[in-house]
């Protein structure tokens, strides 16, 4: 299959408020290739969760998609009616949310939730579906799955529950999995297990992943490419090793420098002054300009995402390089 699996172009999400529409996502564009893991990283309020919700059609009013388009496997999905979206969601696009407590129905047995999902998206009989459910529980690392399949969510620990959620997301063999902060609510040691599980399973089943998180370390270990979001826009996007080692956008540079590392005991952490602007008060031009150590006159105009090689950065500093690269191409 040629072409990206998921293609988002100029996505614009607005919230209707008393004082007029509030722009929460402003021209977000990215692609996910089949089988690729794209990390979407950003601080709170940057819009990363909203992007995920927009893709799977779970934006609740007063939020709505106000512009741009989202294509999945070539077909547009941003304007589909909910009935059609429901078929895609869970079947061809799997979802993992942050809190396993609320993702699972506390009144339903684990096995029933799994079998129901399998039956909804695959042409199998009930018994076969149940066998597949048991197999999935085994694959995600639940010991004695045939015994535990009839348990209720509260009988499982946090890490186990998240494994079940991963099974739920993958059991219909989706082409794309959207994982929104899948490990944030878990202990450090369990986080590592879950991340590794997610990575291996998706690779094994050929599913692409949109991994939304604020934790750059998780991205560095898991993603192939990463998009850094700031104030509802993409600041930088590129291959993960390059981006982590050599960030282009001043925000990414500041972010990477601010993360304390295990290796060396720093004298002082680099800090970015100020804070991300609230959605209602995003400045004109580049949203990061008020905090940027390298701001100059051109920054009063909003920079588009400049392409430099396979990477992109929304920063006027790279205008020349980008133009040169385009000429070369």
């Amino acid at each position: 299959m040629t072409g990206p699996l998921l293609s988002v172009r100029d996505l614009r999400v607005e919230f209707a408020t008393r004082k007029g529409p509030l722009v929460a996502l402003d021209g977000v564009s990215f692609d996910i290739a089949p089988g690729e893991v794209l990390g979407v990283v950003g601080e709170s309020g940057a819009g990363k969760s909203l992007t995920g919700l927009a893709v799977i059609g779970l934006l609740d009013s007063p939020g709505r998609i106000a512009g741009g388009e989202i294509r999945f496997d070539g077909e547009r999905i941003d304007n589909l009616p909910q009935t059609r979206m429901r078929l895609i969601r869970g079947g061809r696009i799997g979802v993992i949310f942050q809190d396993p407590l609320t993702s699972l129905n506390p009144l339903m047995r684990i096995g029933d939730q799994l079998t129901e999902t399998i039956l909804a998206h695959k042409p199998l009989g009930r018994r076969q579906a149940r066998e597949q459910a048991i197999a999935w529980l085994g694959e995600v690392g639940i010991p004695s799955p045939e015994k535990r399949i009839d348990g209720y969510p509260h009988e499982f620990s946090g890490g186990m529950r998240q494994r079940v959620v991963i099974a739920l997301a993958l059991c219909a063999e989706p082409a794309l999995v959207i994982a929104d902060e899948p490990t944030t609510a878990l202990d450090v040691s369990v986080q590592a297990q879950i991340i590794s599980l997610l990575k291996n399973l998706t690779r094994r089943h050929g599913a692409a992943v949109m991994l939304i998180t604020h934790d750059m370390g998780v991205i560095a270990e898991t993603a192939d490419r990463v998009a850094v979001m700031y104030a509802g826009r993409i600041a930088e996007i590129g291959e993960v090793r390059e981006l982590v080692r050599n960030p282009l956008h001043p925000y990414t540079q500041g972010l990477m420098a601010a993360i304390p590392t295990l290796a060396v005991r720093a004298r002082r952490l680099m800090q970015i002054p100020g804070a991300m602007p609230r959605l209602s008060s995003i400045p004109r031009g580049c949203a990061f300009a008020p905090r940027c150590p390298r701001v100059f006159e051109r920054c009063a105009e909003r920079p588009p995402l400049m392409a430099i090689g396979g990477r992109g950065a929304a920063c006027w500093l790279y205008y020349q390089a980008s133009a040169a690269a385009e000429i070369r191409n």
């Binding site: 450090v188 986080q191 560095a220 590392t261 005991r265």
Partner: protein
């Protein structure tokens, strides 16, 4: 005096030789009764059940240092934090602040004197400030409570307090104009600054920081941690820093204690502990941290889950998850000796975990 405390050995840090311990924890334990209500126990004939959240902790914190305490959920670190500041009474053992046991003293003046010397910064910046109080009043409250009660004209009239509040706001990077505002008008990072201002308002010596940046974004965390370090230098503070984030501990702490299921399993100077962790749990924790430097370091697969404190495993509580467990680990609890609680660790037996 330090040499008399079991299990704490200094390794020649000149700064610490002549520093007093400002906080001493001796044999501290806290047990919770988690039995079902007595009627249902009567009916189903269950015994009483207890949970030892903290079980025999011994350590000391020197003046001016930052002692980092790390552990997973269920390790008891929050319970320990509350006992240290006197919000929770110990079931056994003592907490001595500069030699004074808060829980054991009934004398109100002495208790007040101890309380004045310590403060706490909480994890959730949205819950640690009273939403109905103005920021200025929140910060001024400890000042008002602890000001000397000798009649009037003690130099701390309303104007002096307001000036002090303004000074504190500027010290933490906010603005005096913020004093009449309410907490909900501020962001998470700003609220944590307000909490810090409140904590230093009455000139404490010792501050317990319970996950102070866990709820904050990375770039804000950097600001807050830098602020805390700067204040520590400037005001001569001592910190007990409780967190699950090892990188934060690396940056902030001079010494680190690792807790597992209510017990200390390892203590050491930060650099040494990170370079040569001796307890298998410490090694596991360090391995579990994602590799941001992308050095491609080898990672041993981690297994299992944090144990249930109500029903701890016999012997060494870590043995079900320990890659090196031997027979004795399943039956006998290792004593805390030579700064580590492991049957297999000796002073020279250490594997490097991070280069």
């Amino acid at each position: 005096m330090l040499a008399l405390l079991p299990g704490v050995r200094r390794r020649g840090n000149p700064k610490l030789k002549d520093a007093d311990a400002i906080v001493e924890v001796r044999g501290l334990s806290r047990v919770f009764d988690v039995s079902s209500p007595w009627i249902s126990r009567l009916v189903s004939r269950e015994p009483r059940r207890t949970l030892a959240a903290v079980d025999g902790l011994d350590f000391a914190i020197d003046r001016g240092e930052t002692f980092g305490l790390v552990g997973e959920s269920g390790s008891g670190k929050s319970t320990l934090a509350r006992m240290v500041v006197g919000l929770l009474e110990p079931s056994r053992g003592q907490v001595l602040i500069d030699g004074v046991d808060l829980a054991g003293t009934r004398d109100r003046a002495a208790r007040r004197a101890v309380r004045r010397r310590m403060q706490m910064i909480f994890q959730d910046p949205f819950a640690s400030l009273n939403p109905r109080w103005r920021v200025g009043d929140i910060i001024a409250e400890p000042i008002r409570v602890f000001r000397p009660r000798d009649g009037r004209a003690s130099g701390l009239g309303e104007r002096a307090i307001a000036a002090r509040v303004d000074e504190l706001l500027e010290l933490v990077g906010l603005h005096p104009a913020d004093a009449p505002k309410f907490p909900h008008e501020f962001s998470g990072g700003q609220r944590q600054r307000i909490a810090i201002a409140r904590a230093i308002a009455a000139h404490p010596d010792f501050i317990v920081c319970d996950e102070p940046t866990s709820a904050l974004d990375v770039s804000i965390q950097a600001q807050i941690l830098n602020l805390m370090r700067d204040l520590q230098e400037r005001l001569g503070l001592t910190y007990l820093l409780i967190t699950h984030n090892l990188a934060v501990v690396r940056f902030m702490a001079t010494r680190v204690g690792v807790m597992y299921l209510g017990r200390l399993v390892e203590i050491g100077e930060t650099d040494a502990l990170f370079a040569r962790p001796r307890h298998p749990f410490t090694r596991m924790l360090l391995d579990a941290v994602p590799d941001l430097a992308m050095s491609g370091r080898p990672r041993t697969p981690v297994g299992g889950e944090p144990p249930n404190p109500i029903d701890p495993p016999p012997g060494c509580p870590f043995h079900p998850r320990c890659p090196q467990a031997i027979a004795i680990c399943k039956s006998e609890r290792p004593a805390f000796r030579d700064n580590v609680a492991c049957h297999l660790a000796t002073a020279d037996d250490a594997r490097p975990a991070v280069e």
